[in-house]
């Protein structure tokens, strides 16, 4: 049954904080306190999440893990975090990209929306051109 699960709570698991003052930031599970709580740290220098206790209900597990000791201190954590290229891996995931796109869309001004409209028009133009060509090709067959 464990094979059905891919994301585990474990030391070194990178999580996305869902709720609270550090919402939207990623952090690493350094240790497990009890059934509901983990000790988590950004590291603070990189992601802004300090070392503190956080409930599992307030986080989402990601696919990324790094190799660290239990209850590791900031210096070693920063080293493992940068060597594991966690931020880069995270930014590449479609999860992070969707979040970033949502933020971008929410912060669009009128000029951005105008540019988006033009881009959509261009895109549909290209798609329709290709579609017309395919229909023509199927008709001449």
């Amino acid at each position: 049954v464990m094979s059905l699960f891919t994301r585990f709570v474990e030391i070194g698991r990178v999580v996305l904080v869902n709720y609270g003052p550090y919402e939207g930031k990623i952090a690493v599970i350094i240790d497990v306190i009890d059934q509901n709580t983990a000790l988590v740290s950004g590291p603070q220098k990189i992601t802004g999440v300090p070392r503190h206790a956080i409930s599992f209900k307030r986080m989402s597990l990601t696919d990324i893990t790094i190799k660290i000791e239990r209850s590791v201190r900031q210096k070693a954590l920063v080293k493992a975090f940068t060597e594991g290229q966690v931020l880069e891996k995270w930014e590449k995931t479609s999860w992070a990209k969707k979040r970033a796109a949502r933020v971008k869309r929410a912060n669009m001004n009128d000029f951005d929306r105008f540019k988006a409209m033009l881009a959509k028009k261009r895109k549909s133009h290209i798609v329709q051109d290709a579609q017309r060509k395919l229909i023509k090709a199927s008709r001449t067959k």
Binding site: M2, F5, T6, R7, F8, V9, E10, I11, N18, Y19, E23, G24, D31, V32, I33, D34, L39, R51, H52, A53, F56, K57, R58, S60, L61, E69, R70, S71
Partner: protein
């Protein structure tokens, strides 16, 4: 409710015959200083022949954990009044701070035994080494390679305004 740990120091009021009465110090878990002082007199009354009117409090200080970023296993001995008699028990909690463990204890005792703060006397809160822990529920976390999934995940809206009573799609409760 966040509990604080206070150090309350008091003594009997000095008199002509007794210029330097014995000083007593207690570590009390309470929500505020007023309650801490009140509990101090409660305990002093029980153990010494000093009443609040005959005594004085010399100082009330809040005590903090030396290392609030380290996980500790707290073994708590307490005495509580159940509906029929008094019971001594020992409970264990894993937490970062003493006050965190005591907060857990109080909510746990309220849930399991229906006792409240005033019906309990916390005798000792001690950070024990993993070897000295007595409960399997605490010991199961003493694993440097601890690993478990979160089977049934109910995600919470990050802010109250995003919370909705109705949803378009059924939630996914796994792999998150």
């Amino acid at each position: 409710m966040p509990y604080h740990e206070y150090q309350v120091i008091g003594r009997r009021k000095p008199t002509e015959t007794d210029k330097n009465p014995k000083i007593f110090r207690m570590r009390i878990f309470a929500t505020n200083e007023v309650v801490a002082k009140s509990r101090f007199w409660y305990f002093i009354n029980k153990t010494q022949k000093i009443k609040k009117t005959a005594g004085e409090i010399l100082s009330v200080n809040e005590i903090y954990d030396k290392k609030p970023q380290n996980i500790k296993n707290f073994g708590i001995s307490l005495r509580y009044h159940s509906r029929s008699n008094q019971v001594n028990i020992y409970k264990e909690y894993r937490d970062l701070t003493r006050t965190g463990a005591v907060t857990k204890l109080l909510t746990d005792m309220g849930g399991r035994h229906r006792t409240t703060y005033r019906r309990m006397q916390i005798m000792e809160v001690k950070a024990v080494t993993p070897k000295e822990t007595r409960r399997a529920s605490t010991r199961q976390f003493h694993d440097s390679k601890i690993k478990f999934p979160l089977p049934h995940r109910v995600l919470r809206a990050p802010r109250k305004r995003y919370d909705s009573l109705f949803q378009a799609k059924r939630p996914i409760t796994h792999f998150r």
